[in-house]
Subunit: 290 residues, 2 copies
DNA sequence: CATTATATCTGACTAAAGTCAGCTATATGC
DNA sequence: GCATATAGCTGACTTTAGTCAGATATAATG
């Protein structure tokens, strides 16, 4: 009925009016939108003038005036940067914090109303995660994290849950060769998570032993981020980290039920090798020389 | 990791910047956004001044000036309404049509770029359909349509495809008691589709025979619109139409694999009755006295 | 036909956003 | 130490959006 482009544009129309409604609710606090946006940027942790300017895409003159008006209202304080007195650091005053909290409450309220309109929350949220991930595709950042950190554990939990769903006989971490977290921390190995605006979207572990051989473990990409090439990016990051650590040969095990993963390995220079462990879950084994 | 409200707000942030980008690309044609929006509204078929004003939420004075500026550019022509000379009818000139097409090309281009960034188009489009449907929840309109019309056939096609997916032994329309289209057109019966901004989201058929008994057929709600209470709305509309047509008893058949449907019927005054036909697919039968 | 309502337009205004040149203070490189 | 670069600020300006009170023409009503 509707072609794909029309469907995207239908989405755009729907979303444009919803965004407009949020803007209008922000005007309810008697402050122009520009000033409200600057206040919110500061509340969300942007502390330096040029950072806020870049984030909001504002002209330096305009920015300066908006800061002045917030200062006149007693909502912010500015001090010179410790190492560079040309730069200014912005901080919310207690009154500014209260005002920021009021804006936060408005935003939260709107988000709750949106969710309340829909019975299948999780389906809807998954759709929103996916779209936000595509839109902010360029903003998906990979960084190394401790495998015991919150974001890493979130990814691992999602990974195990997905294996349990996809393996016909389920999945129990305890039966699998659960890599010791210490082996996925430098200098032995590392653990990499992909984050997009606060939401973890993927992970991969490099499990080393100090020897010149290491293993890739726990490659996972959130359903919301599939199709964006994130698996490949994670694998490249893991391989680069391995090279840095002086590792010459990488191995990994996987299961043929995870078709996308197998395809990714074959397309990026991995070769199938015979079984090299007695873990009950994997049935496919790969190797790559760096 | 992120709570539901934060996820909605992450979505809002992503979408706000995307909408801003579209606005900026629209500014590239050397015309303020307000004028561009009016030109687009006209191009999309809004022909009367008050219609455009309501659609865009503009003040009458501002609207008038924007029309004047488009007229000065030679992009539109205004004539008096045939029956009411106070009202003005707006039409694009050939130059206006060209300019409108340029905006359309920009929008289409953006939509294509968006789709190109993602491997799984259909998944992404389904997510966008769902969100647009929730956002435009109030704009989902039910209207009667010929069961042979494009929108009705789109719905029926989706309905059959879904049955084929959900029935363990598939579904073949030819084996089922396919209601004759004539029985779902007034005065015997009717067919109702739910449309949201050009996208069909659901349907239901009322199959009559001229007698005081009729059957409900083909109740379908698009996956993108589930959880919005659309099934109930469609059923109410069908029951109202039945009352109008002087029908006293409604019957329907369904399959226990379609759990949501059975639940809906039970909750809205239907009672289970014994099998009343020999169609191979249904295994549950309901009746309701109006 | 007079009255009232409606659709659109015009003039006069304001607020907000944005632009740009030049200023001041500080930092950096040679 | 001096030239140059950088960060932020100020003043003067323009554009865009929006508001509101009438004005004008036409339509509907009794």
């Amino acid at each position: 009925m509707l072609d794909p482009v029309s469907r995207v544009r239908r989405f755009n129309r729907a979303v444009t009016s919803a965004v407009g409604a949020l803007d209008n609710s922000f005007l309810g606090r008697g402050r122009p939108l520009g000033a409200a946006r600057v206040l919110n940027a500061i509340g969300h942790g942007h502390a330096d003038v040029s950072g806020i300017r870049d984030y909001l895409g504002l002209d330096s003159g305009l920015m300066s005036r908006l800061l002045r008006s917030l200062e006149d209202e007693g909502l912010i304080e500015t001090t010179a940067h410790k190492d560079d007195a040309r730069r200014r650091i912005i901080r919310l005053t207690p009154a500014g914090r209260r005002e920021f909290n009021a804006y936060e409450a408005l935003s939260n309220r709107q988000a709750e109303d949106f969710l309340a309109r829909h019975a299948q929350r999780e389906t809807l949220l998954a759709a929103m995660d996916m779209i936000a991930s595509v839109l902010r595709h360029d903003g998906i950042a990979l960084h190394e994290a401790d495998p015991r950190s919150d974001e890493a554990r979130y990814c691992l939990g999602a990974y195990y849950a997905e294996l349990a769903r996809r393996f016909s006989h389920g999945f129990d971490v305890k039966l699998s060769r659960d890599p010791d977290a210490k082996d996925m921390v430098r200098p032995r190995g590392t653990f990499i998570v992909a984050m997009s605006d606060g939401l973890p979207l993927g992970c991969v572990g490099l499990k080393g032993s100090g020897a010149e051989q290491a293993e890739i473990k726990r490659l996972w990409v959130a359903p919301a981020a599939r199709g964006l090439g994130l698996g490949r990016r994670l694998m490249e990051a893991a391989e680069n980290a391995a090279r840095e650590l002086g590792i010459a040969v990488l191995r990994l095990d996987t299961n043929s039920a995870l078709a996308e993963a197998g395809q990714l390995y074959r397309k990026s220079g991995w070769t199938e090798i015979p079984r090299f462990n007695d873990d009950p879950y994997p049935d496919l084994f790969f190797e790559k020389r760096l």
